[in-house]
Symmetry: C2
Subunit: 488 residues, 2 copies
């Protein structure tokens, strides 16, 4: 239980520390700049709650030369057989920095850095860098990569780095480049590079199944990007940190695997989310654990895994979500003994059936062998038409058929709704459908924004309060900003 | 040599017979209606030149109960292990027609019938009907289908049948429907149907990598189609015939395999085309045969395989192309002893890297184990921008990486151009690039349309004459039609 207590303690601190640095700007870039500028030096979670817990010697975990290296594990094998780790060892860093200074430079956006983080820690294993053209084409056309040994791994989202004509010209015929973060620091070296055309229209059409204007990732990332893509092998100079008080939740696939092994997990079920957890979610996660126990697993562990990278402007920001998730654990809605909360560092594409494969594949690399998939995963409303962008059932169908994901057990989401006869979230019973109330994400946000309470039992009150507080602060900030905008 | 002589004899007839029924309307539908209405009863090629040649007993070809059934063959295995043949046996036809009369009806367009033809003869093996949703989604997302035994076959183009709301309403809960051709005849029965949404935008975006207006297949087929797709198992009442004088060239995969076996082919190399054959193509095909002989094959056979279904309005029509191809054989540019000319009945999508996979996969089913791929296969200009729709190299790259095509040998096209020092088509030599003249399809058509001659040695004169004649007739017809249009 020490884990839980530490978690709550830290979260209270966080809440307090954030009072005067509240995130109000709905624009993503500003919101995140705000993170790093204002909160930076004060690490709220100054210890990693998972890593510091006393490590018991586990007979299944054999230790090699390096004390952290797991040689044997009962967890699902990472894609490609071994987990990619591209972060340079401490002793080599200075040398790499000196080398990097000499190379042509490529400036990274904040979201590019998120991808460096994702690739560097092995979430995209066996990918070892930004995609070269052969990987990019396989990804676009087949949502998978064929490895040299003939085996196939899933890879549905292009993980690419765009550069403009001027940068391409500066690189010339050099075969390595230095990648520079938004603050001017050398973040990584990209080796044996390949530069190829960035056909944005084709990339968008094949990834999203639409080219309609208004797709968040397209507008934020692709439209302003250069006309070239640069692929190569990545060497990350040092672990990526955001200094937003949440870094200790950013456990790498390796750290997660170590923790699953330490807890003697014989099944790991992942729950990807980018929204607050309500009691319907919790019911589903608890029910999944029950079903896994019934199947004969002795110790199924839940990976509650909120997405931490780019999200669209009207999604609830990461820090608020993390605080809300902590309340759910604090209130005992989810059991901390069998739950690990960590941040998945990937940016969000909102590319529905294409993206859900990425979400699932990355969790294989983190050790999950069960993946819960809901209605319309990674979906959103069509940006120009009054309908969902994707058929709500396609996500789970595509996931169940996706090449390279055969080894993953897909657990379709059972529909939960508010049962008005029992005043709680329950699995929907179609024989008495009129007893059930469906509360969508939009409706939930509207409740919170208007200061209304949802029906009792929809969400734990302390978690709900986190949302209400967020929207209150947001409105105050929006009102404060309005005159300033008008006066310019 | 009897084959060649018969071919020429027939083609002369064809040429003559066509004098007064010349195809002038550049609109596809009209052009084809014209075919079936005017030429219909007069079969120009009244015997199939391949099937009637004396059949020698071949030790490798074991005959089963049915005299045409090949039990053993050294040819490449069809996708899924056995060739699909969905044409109902003669004895059952009347019974099926009676049954079909009782079923709800779905009206087919001319292009739908082309797809019935394609599926029914097994070009799309192991597909046994129009796609159900699980096949459609795998096709759209992965360009491949996973079979029950876990193996993967390529399937890049959605082969689907669209219906409108009214038809869906009429079908109700029936599980079988009758498919009715444009003339009102029962063409096929579709069994165990599944009706699902036709998201046109997503289908177009994922198939073409663009949603720009002006894609020929989209405008002709998808935009006017209904909002539902109907999948199921197909039973084709009788072999599909077009009565355009070219039916004897429409050899099924089964017939082609029989002919390859009869000729004792130990390698079959397929050349897909929708354009006239110039001497650069011929050089490539002859060179490929030479290379295959050098590799140790004893009898490589060329399948010269023009596409016979829907093509865009400014492509050269099928009958003109077939006449032109015959001249190339007649002039000895290609050797009839080692060449089979047949028609591939598929409609054309112009979907570049996505479609070239379909073109290659279908030829596996016809027995080809080598596939020649050129620059920008199945490509076209971008419909709204001044550039090629696809990167000209992507077709061959995607083809070489495509799931399910591993067993096919991809032969990249060597660039041929007109060598002005030798006055002939030759493989391009970059060390003396200024000696070479590139004659694109557009340029070739411009020459023919303007009655100009291309340089000597570009194409055999008799083949060139076929093109010049076609464009002359086209211009006469266009001029004749213009006043009629103005007077309405």
């Amino acid at each position: 239980m020490s884990l839980t207590l530490k978690l709550h303690f830290n979260l209270h601190h966080h809440n307090h520390a954030n009072k005067n640095t509240i995130i109000t700007n709905t624009n993503y870039i500003n919101r995140n700049t705000c993170f790093s500028n204002k909160i930076q030096p004060k690490t709220i979670y100054n210890t990693n709650p998972l890593i510091i817990t006393p490590r018991k010697v586990d007979s299944r975990v054999m230790q090699g030369e390096c004390c952290n290296k797991i040689i044997k594990s009962s967890l699902i094998e990472p894609d490609g057989g071994s987990l990619v780790d591209l972060v340079v060892g401490e002793r080599e860093r200075d040398l790499k920095r000196v080398e990097g200074e000499e190379l042509p430079k490529v400036k990274l956006s904040k979201i590019d850095v998120e991808w460096v983080h994702v690739i560097g820690e092995g979430w995209a294993s066996p990918l070892r860098g930004f995609m070269r053209e052969d990987e990019y084409l396989q990804c676009l056309h087949f949502n998978s990569l064929r490895l040299k040994n003939g085996s196939v791994v899933n890879m549905s989202l292009p993980i690419v780095l765009a550069i403009d004509d001027e940068t391409k010209g500066r690189i010339g015929s050099c075969s390595n480049v230095g990648l520079i973060g938004p603050d001017g620091d050398l973040v990584a070296i990209l080796r044996s590079i390949e530069i190829y055309k960035h056909n944005k229209e084709e990339r968008i059409a094949r990834t999203w199944g639409t080219t309609a204007p208004g797709l968040p990732y397209v507008e934020e990332v692709i439209t302003p990007a250069g006309n070239w893509l640069i692929g190569g092998d990545l060497e990350v100079i040092q672990p990526i940190k955001y200094n937003d008080g949440l870094d200790n939740y950013r456990l790498s696939p390796k750290q997660l695997r170590q923790e699953f092994d330490r807890r003697k997990a014989d099944a790991v079920f992942a729950f990807q989310l980018r929204n607050p957890v309500h009691n319907g979610h919790a019911l589903l996660m608890n029910d999944t654990r029950k079903r896994l126990l019934e199947m004969g697993y002795k110790n199924p562990i839940l990976l509650l895994h909120p997405l931490g990278g780019f999200t669209k402007a009207d999604d609830v920001p990461l820090d608020v979500r993390m605080e809300q998730h902590s309340k759910v654990l604090e209130d005992g809605i989810l059991d901390p003994e069998t739950t690990i909360v960590a941040i998945f560092p990937s940016p969000m594409h909102y590319a529905g059936p294409t993206e859900v494969q990425w979400h699932a594949k990355a969790r294989i690399n983190a050790g999950a062998n069960f993946y819960i998939v809901g209605r319309d995963p990674a979906g959103m409303g069509h940006p120009t038409e009054k309908r969902d962008l994707y058929d709500p059932d396609h996500g789970k169908k595509v996931l169940s058929m996706a090449p390279g994901l055969e080894k993953l057990n897909i657990l379709p989401f059972r529909v939960a709704a508010y049962d008005t006869t029992e005043n709680k979230m329950a699995f929907f019973d179609p024989t008495r459908s009129k007893d059930f109330l469906f509360i969508s994400g939009t409706k939930m946000r509207a409740y919170a924004r208007n200061g209304e309470n949802p029906p009792d039992g929809f969400m734990c009150p302390s978690g709900w309060k986190v949302l209400v507080n967020y929207y209150e602060r947001l409105q105050v900030e929006e009102q404060a900003q309005q005159p300033a905008v008008l006066s310019t």
